[in-house]
C-alpha cells in the first residue's frame, strides 16, 4: 500500500504525539485528548460541509457516543472500553439511519435547523428523565482495555490519550481515502451541482444519506472518547451551543485537509483555555474575535495558511476551441 504525503504526515504526527505524551504534563495530555476527540466530531461536521450541508446538531451524535460509554456500565454491565465505544458508534449509526431518511430530503437552512431540532429533542429527553441521569448525567464507571482495569488518575489519562491518538489517526486515514473516493468526490459534486449529479445517473439523496450516516458514526466515536477522557457525561453534550462549538472549529480549520479539524481543535482549546485563564469574564469575546478574524482574513480556515500560496492549475490562454467568455456556468 502506497502512502501519500497526507497519510505519511498522519502517521508521523501520531507517532510524535505518542512520544510527546510520554513526557508532556498531565494537563496538556488531557487538553490534547479532548481536542482530538472533539476534532473527530468536527470531522463529521466537515464531511457534511463537503457535501454542501451544515449540521447545527452534530452534538446529537456526540452525545449518543458519550452516553453509550456513560450508560454502558450501569445499564448493560459492560466495562470493556472498546465495546463501549463501539456501542456508541453503532447506536449513532442506527439513529442516523432513521433520521437521515428525513434530513437528507432537506438542504441549506432547513437541514441545519432540523439537525438542530433533533439534538435539542435529545437534550430535552435527557434533562427531563431521571432514569437517564437528568441534568446531572452519569459518571463513567471504571472501564477496561484489553482486560486491564483503567481506574482513573494519571494512568487513565495516558491510556485514553493513546486510544484517542490511535483512533484519530485511523479515522483521519480512512477519511482521507474517503474524500478521494467516488462517494467522497461525488459529495463535493453534489455541493457544486446536484442537478448534474442526478443527470449522471446517481442519486444525490442516497449519497448524502450514506455520508450523513458515516459522519454520525465518526462523531459518536469522538463523543465516546470524550466521555472516557472526562469521566462524565451530561445533557449539555447535545445542547445547541456544543454543536455551535463544532461548527466554530470546522470554520476555524476549513475543509482543505483531513488534518485541518485536528489543528483547529487544538488551536480552539488553547485559545479558550488561555482566554478563560487571562480574561475569565470575557473569554467568549476572545473566541468571537478569533472567529471574526478567521472569517475575514482566512475564509477557508487555518488550513489555507498552508495552501494559499500554492498556484492554481494553469489555464492555457489560447484554447483550441474559439469561444466567447460571457455568461455564468452552472
Amino acid at each position: 500500500m502506497r502512502l501519500d504525503k497526507t497519510e505519511l504526515a498522519l502517521v508521523g504526527l501520531a507517532v510524535l504525539l505518542l512520544l510527546g505524551g510520554m513526557v508532556a504534563p498531565g494537563w496538556l495530555i488531557f487538553l490534547v485528548t479532548i481536542a482530538l476527540a472533539k476534532a473527530l466530531v468536527v470531522q463529521g461536521v466537515v464531511m457534511q460541509m463537503k457535501a454542501g450541508l451544515v449540521s447545527f446538531g452534530q452534538g446529537l451524535f456526540y452525545c449518543v457516543g458519550g452516553y453509550a460509554v456513560g450508560m454502558g456500565g450501569p445499564f448493560l454491565g459492560i466495562s470493556a472500553g472498546l465495546v463501549l465505544l463501539a456501542i456508541g458508534v453503532v447506536a449513532a449509526v442506527g439513529l442516523a439511519m432513521v433520521l437521515g431518511l428525513l434530513l437528507t430530503r432537506y438542504r441549506e437552512i432547513f437541514f441545519a435547523m432540523l439537525s438542530l431540532a433533533f439534538s435539542m429533542i435529545l437534550y430535552g429527553v435527557l434533562v427531563k428523565s431521571q432514569e437517564l441521569g437528568s441534568t446531572d448525567g452519569f459518571n463513567v464507571n471504571n472501564w477496561t482495555l484489553l482486560g486491564q482495569t483503567i481506574a482513573g488518575g494519571e494512568t487513565a489519562t495516558h491510556v485514553v490519550f493513546l486510544l484517542t491518538v490511535v483512533a484519530a489517526a485511523v479515522v483521519a486515514f480512512l477519511l482521507h481515502r474517503y474524500y478521494r473516493s467516488s462517494v467522497g468526490m461525488t459529495c463535493e459534486a453534489i455541493r457544486e451541482n446536484e442537478v448534474r449529479v442526478e443527470y449522471l445517473g446517481l442519486s444525490p439523496r442516497w449519497i448524502q444519506y450514506a455520508n450523513y450516516v458515516a459522519a454520525a458514526g465518526v462523531s459518536a466515536l469522538g463523543g465516546g472518547l470524550t466521555a472516557l477522557a472526562a469521566g462524565h457525561v451530561d445533557p449539555d453534550m447535545a445542547y445547541w451551543t456544543t454543536s455551535g462549538e463544532f461548527i466554530f472549529i470546522a470554520l476555524l480549520g476549513g475543509t482543505g485537509s483531513v488534518l485541518a479539524p485536528f489543528l483547529a481543535a487544538i488551536v480552539f482549546s488553547l485559545v479558550r483555555t488561555y482566554a478563560i485563564e487571562f480574561v475569565p469574564h470575557a473569554w467568549q469575546m476572545i473566541l468571537g474575535f478569533t472567529l471574526l478574524g478567521i472569517v475575514v482574513f482566512l475564509p477557508k480556515g487555518l488550513w489555507s495558511l498552508f495552501t494559499r500560496h500554492r498556484p492554481e492549475a494553469p489555464v492555457v490562454p489560447a484554447a483550441p476551441q474559439k469561444t466567447s467568455t460571457g455568461g455564468a456556468g452552472a
Binding site: M185, K322, G326
Partner: protein
C-alpha cells in the same frame, strides 16, 4: 420499427398557461432532430418532461417501447436518455478532469465506492481521450470557473455522452456562444455524435445551424407542434415562416414573438 423515443398526447399546464398541448412525437434510431420555436413555445418544457425534470399533466412517454413516465431523472439517464442544458451544468469548483472522471465513475456504477480512489489510471486516460475529442484538452486541470462559456458547453455535452446513451437531448447547445464560433462548436459535437452513433434531438434558435445538421425538424408554437418533417419542407411551411422563423411575406401574428432574420432568439 419501435421508436427510441415516443410521446403520446403529452400535455403540460402551469395554471392557466398551456406549455405543451397534445404532443405526439416519434424519434427513430439514428435521427438528428432539430426543435425550433420562439421563446416560450414549449421546447425546453418538452425536454424537461421527457427527461423527468418536469412531470407532464397528462400523456405517455416511452423509450424503446417502455414507459418512462414517473421515473426519476437518474433512472431515465440510466435507461439511455441523456441531456445537456441551456446553461452548462458542471461542477464549477472542481477541475475539468474531475468533472469528467466523476461522470465516468457514475457511468460505471450507480453505487460508487467509499474507499477506492475516484481518479484511477483508466478513468483519467479515458477522460483525456474525451477532452481531446471535444477539443478542450487545454483546460484539463483548470477549474470550470476559469473555462470559457463555449468550452463549458462542450464539457457539458461530453459529460452527457459519457454513459453511452441511446439518445441525446441538447438544449440550445450554442446559446451563449458568439455567432462565428457556433459552427466550430457544432462541428465538434456532431463529429462526436456521429462517432458514437447517437440519436439526437436538439433545441436551437439559429436556423443556419438547424439547416446544416438536422435530418428532421419539429416546429413548436404555443406548446403545440405545428410542423414536423424534413428541414426544407418545414422551413418552407407557411405557418412556420409566419409564427417561428419570421420569414413570412404575411404580417406576423401579434403574439408570435418571431423576428425577421435567421434567428428567433
Amino acid at each position: 420499427m419501435t421508436p427510441i423515443l415516443e410521446t403520446r398526447g403529452l400535455n403540460k399546464t402551469f395554471g392557466a398557461v398551456t406549455a405543451a398541448k397534445d404532443l405526439n412525437v416519434r424519434i427513430n434510431k439514428g435521427e438528428i432532430v432539430g426543435v425550433i420555436g420562439a421563446n416560450g413555445a414549449g421546447k425546453t418544457t418538452f425536454i424537461n418532461m421527457v427527461t423527468g425534470y418536469l412531470p407532464p399533466t397528462s400523456g405517455e412517454i416511452l423509450m424503446d417501447g417502455k414507459a418512462i413516465l414517473g421515473l426519476a431523472p437518474r433512472a431515465i439517464t440510466r435507461a439511455g436518455l441523456a441531456r445537456s442544458f441551456q446553461v452548462a451544468q458542471l461542477f464549477p469548483e472542481l477541475t475539468v478532469l474531475d468533472n469528467l472522471v466523476i461522470a465516468l465513475a457514475a457511468a460505471e456504477s450507480p453505487h460508487p465506492s467509499f474507499l477506492k480512489p475516484l481518479r484511477t489510471k483508466a478513468r483519467v486516460a479515458k477522460a483525456e481521450e474525451i477532452l481531446a475529442e471535444f477539443k478542450v484538452a487545454a483546460y484539463r486541470d483548470a477549474r470550470v470557473t476559469a473555462v470559457p462559456q463555449g468550452s463549458r458547453k462542450l464539457i457539458d455535452i461530453a459529460m452527457a455522452m459519457i454513459g453511452n446513451p441511446k439518445m441525446l437531448l441538447l438544449d440550445e447547445p450554442t446559446s451563449g456562444v458568439s455567432v462565428d464560433e457556433k459552427g466550430d462548436l457544432m462541428d465538434t459535437v456532431m463529429a462526436a455524435v456521429r462517432h458514437h452513433g447517437l440519436t439526437v434531438l436538439f433545441v436551437e434558435h439559429d436556423m443556419d445551424v438547424v439547416r446544416r445538421y438536422v435530418s428532421r425538424i419539429l416546429a413548436f408554437y404555443s406548446g403545440e407542434i405545428i410542423a414536423d418533417g424534413p428541414p426544407d419542407a418545414v422551413l418552407a411551411d407557411e405557418r412556420v415562416r409566419e409564427l417561428v422563423t419570421g420569414h413570412s411575406d404575411h404580417k406576423p401574428a401579434a403574439n408570435a414573438g418571431a423576428r425577421e432574420g435567421s434567428s428567433v432568439a
